[in-house]
């Protein structure tokens, strides 16, 4: 368990003892740890499902699983990675870091915080349990498109209930974060002095509050279509299956920015520290993030270029989507300008941040290509998009999270991680991620559809490479688990308060001792 447990000497009271500490805790650091550990477990569960997928796809022919189970794997892999791994990881980082970064003693709503976390493991458990229900887990893809999703067996209502619970959990966490940021800042910490990580989370939280109810509503309409005789998505009753897609992507597109904006924040914290330079274009970073947040609401149907929208719709969504490249480009240029003429060192967090900039940008390029609707008539629903969103979500979101963990782990645990192992972890992961996902661009362009358990022979070789990459990637993460576990169990060199050279100039959190005491900023700092 967290090292903070043994560190309460200069405070009135520390954490409670035993298991109940974790059940009843209202401490932002404890809850942050709970989120992060849950996220890591779900990352491994979702990863195991990805390996089932890649094992089946290693060569042509059906070797291991029934196609139905394969479809359940693709569906659950995505749902678990999105809602069980990446979002909780961000929530964990927010809990740990936002109060420490803005000089607040805790989150504004500590009990709500406890509840929003504890909804999560039960929802995750229920989702995984659908695998064992009659008819198997949902197998219609994470988008849950009707009419196909209505063919789900006993798992159907449980899958939807899971989404409802996850939605409640996200909304509560988002409310808490907004209230904390707007009300709990230390004197002098004006909005435009907030660290970028705080800014990106503030905008993300607004996105979450806006979109989760839409998703919950859409899946509830599925529920009533199946069990209560409504026809929202059934043409025979006057409904429209495509209506669901509009609702889903009105949620789904901002959702992918929920998965990436906090990553932008993390990277914007790491790069200045290891470049020993202030972040370039701070205010344009804030405006760019806000623009991306706004644009994310008006581009959703670019996921539906092939449903037969009117030409005006196709063109509008093409133009609007292309616009996103502008603020995203600004961010990339700013990161590079931050490094320009800095004094760069390459500790693990910086390696992950640089890899993020390079690989996320690559994913951005393919994103731009797909924004062009006529070209997307070819790319749509092929491995090209699979490659695209794994570049932005794995080497984007996940890389940023891992980088953030290395960056703040010494602050959390008071221990320095093993730098050599961490470098090994970085290089294995980066090389294998590219081996896994790069060939998928070729597969998609050559005509391989996504979500298929078996394929024609001309796709064999790239699939074999991709599977090898996936397995190396998966097993490399065990190194990460080991590194984190070592620090959490009190091994490794003691970390200083500043942790990284000059880091105290880049964030309030590095002016605190390491490990961060159980209670921090009981007296708010004065920010100039």
């Amino acid at each position: 368990m967290s090292v903070s447990a043994i560190h309460d000497d200069h405070h009135d009271h520390g954490p409670a003892k035993g298991l109940m500490r974790w059940v009843t805790t209202t401490n932002h650091k404890d809850i942050g740890t709970l989120y992060m550990v849950t996220s890591l477990i779900m990352f491994m569960v979702g990863g195991a499902m990805a390996l089932v997928i890649r094992a089946e796809l290693f060569e042509p022919g059906m070797q291991f699983v029934d196609p139905m189970f394969f479809n359940s794997m693709t569906t659950l892999h995505a749902l678990i990675m999105v809602f069980g791994a990446v979002m909780p990881a961000f929530a964990g980082l927010a809990n740990w870091m936002i109060p420490m970064m803005i000089g607040s003693p805790d989150m504004a709503l500590p009990r709500l915080n406890n509840w929003s976390f504890w909804l999560l493991p039960f929802a995750a458990l229920m989702l995984v349990s659908t695998l064992f229900m009659e008819g198997g887990a949902a197998a219609a893809g994470w988008t849950l498109y009707p009419p196909l999703v209505l063919q789900t067996g006993a798992a159907f209502p449980f899958t939807i209930f899971t989404i409802h619970i996850l939605g409640v959990s996200s909304i509560l966490a988002a409310i808490n974060i907004i209230v904390t940021i707007l009300n709990m800042r230390a004197p002098g910490m004006t909005l435009m002095k907030m660290p970028l990580f705080v800014w990106t989370w503030l905008i993300t939280a607004f996105l979450l509050i806006a979109i989760m109810p839409v998703f919950a509503g859409a899946v509830t309409m599925l529920l009533t279509d199946k069990f209560f005789g409504t026809s929202f998505f059934n043409a025979a009753g006057g409904g429209d299956p495509v209506l669901y897609q509009h609702l889903f992507w009105f949620f789904g597109h901002p959702e992918v920015y929920v998965l990436i904006l906090p990553s932008f924040g993390i990277v914007s914290q790491i790069i200045p520290t290891f470049s020993r330079k202030p972040l370039f274009g701070y205010s344009s970073m804030v405006y760019a993030t806000a623009s991306i947040g706004f644009l994310s609401f008006i581009v959703w149907a670019h996921h539906q270029y092939t449903v037969g929208m009117p030409i005006e719709g196709e063109l509008y969504f093409t133009y609007a989507t292309m616009l996103i490249a502008v603020p995203t480009g600004v961010k990339v240029f700013n990161w590079i300008s931050t490094m320009w003429k800095g004094a760069i060192t390459f500790e693990s967090p910086m390696l992950w941040a640089i890899a993020f900039v390079v690989l996320f940008t690559l994913g951005g390029f393919t994103g731009l290509m797909m924004s062009i609707s006529p070209a997307d008539l070819q790319y749509h629903d092929t491995y090209f998009i699979v490659a695209h969103f794994h570049y932005v979500l794995v080497s984007g979101a996940v890389f940023a999270i891992i980088g953030g963990v290395y960056y703040w782990l010494p602050k959390w645990t008071g221990r320095m991680y093993d730098e050599r192992l961490a470098q090994l972890h970085f290089w294995l992961t980066t090389l294998s991620v590219n081996l896994c996902f790069f060939p998928q661009h070729f597969l998609g362009l050559a005509g391989m559809p996504r979500r298929i358990p078996d394929y024609a022979l001309q796709f064999a070789e790239f699939n074999a490479w991709s599977s090898v990459g996936a397995f190396i990637f998966g097993f490399s993460q065990l190194i990460f688990c080991y590194i984190v576990f070592r620090c959490m169990s009190g091994h490794g060199e003691h970390a200083s308060g500043e942790v990284w050279e000059g880091a105290s100039e880049h964030g309030l959190e590095f002016t605190l001792p390491s490990p961060a005491p159980y209670h921090t900023w009981e007296t708010p700092p004065n920010v100039h």
Partner: protein, 404 residues
Amino acid sequence: MKKLMTLLAVSGLAVASEASADYALNLTEGVTELSRDIHDLHMLIFWICVGIGVLVYGILVYSLIHHRKSKGVVPAQFHENTKIEILWTIIPFLILLGMAVPATRVMIKAYDTSGADLTVKVTGYQWKWKYDYLDEGVSFFSTLSAKSNEARQLGSGIDPATVDHYLLDVDHPLVLPVGKKVRFLFTGGDVIHAWWVPDLGWKKDTIPGFITDGWATIEKPGTYRGQCTELCGRDHAFMPIVVIAKPEAEYREWLAAQKGAPIVAVDDSASHQEKSNDHQPEPLQVAAATGEAMSSAPAEIGEPLTQEVAMTLGKEVYESHCQSCHQANGEGIQGLFPAIHGSQVVQGPLAAHIQLVLNGKPPLMASFRNILKPQEVAAVITYQRNAFGNSTGDLVQPADIAAH
């Protein structure tokens, strides 16, 4: 992008050394004007991205090499520059504008289905395609070829490499004339599918209850293959598309053969594009085999069936329409698709069995009333009641079906 170029080069070498002709790294140019336009647009955006990539990654790499602490650099402290920030907001915007113009042009072209020479209606079913030549009264189903289907079963023991066009071959391909503007109308019979032949340059979703459209003027005779690209359930990967483009005269010949052959043989050959083109159907006493072309005259009842013929035809119908859910061994999939073997419906009263097949069981099972002919329904019910260990001894006649 550097990575991309290296990888491209490396993969190029690998391909060359294996002389694997089928290999593709890039989007096909296809065989229509539209597909070429889309390919060109794709290459244009690709090279723009490569250009930006070289610039951005170049600056990044330069900085990583020259601005490192180990070189003794003293970090600069600048943190903004309004001019350059405005510049790198405006320049990308202008580049995007340059991309939007050709994109708009091609998209408008892709949507122009006017002035078509013929119209084919494409209906997606779990997990097969139905093609209706609307002006000709010709219609048939197209399903995965038997050889591929056998090889793709879990633990089949058949090496996919021994199957011609593994997973990309069908029993009855779509035949189209070269040089004619073909308009496609798409709809779904059960769930959403998507019809994609990369050589035609686009894909379109087939949505139950709605009609979407697309068009193609194929320039070169040949065989073009594609797949369903919208997840549509268990056998989504196993409903390929094969389009054979023929010169006008040959197409006419093929069409005439389809019309003149309301009674056709059960086609048990597996992969046979060429064969089925000049295929002279042997007249079999009975009814049309599933999927084989037939004129869509109002459902004729047909002659009575003998047990033997019903079982043969029934097996064919079962394999095309029932097997993907109820399985080749009739055991179904637990919790999802009930077994035929020992089924209470199959062993119970005949009327209920006929009702179930004709009306389906929404949302899982389609209604076969408009999909199958009375003879086919009679045959497949006879087959189900006398196969998979069921032995009711019933022989169902087309007249029994017509009565429902």
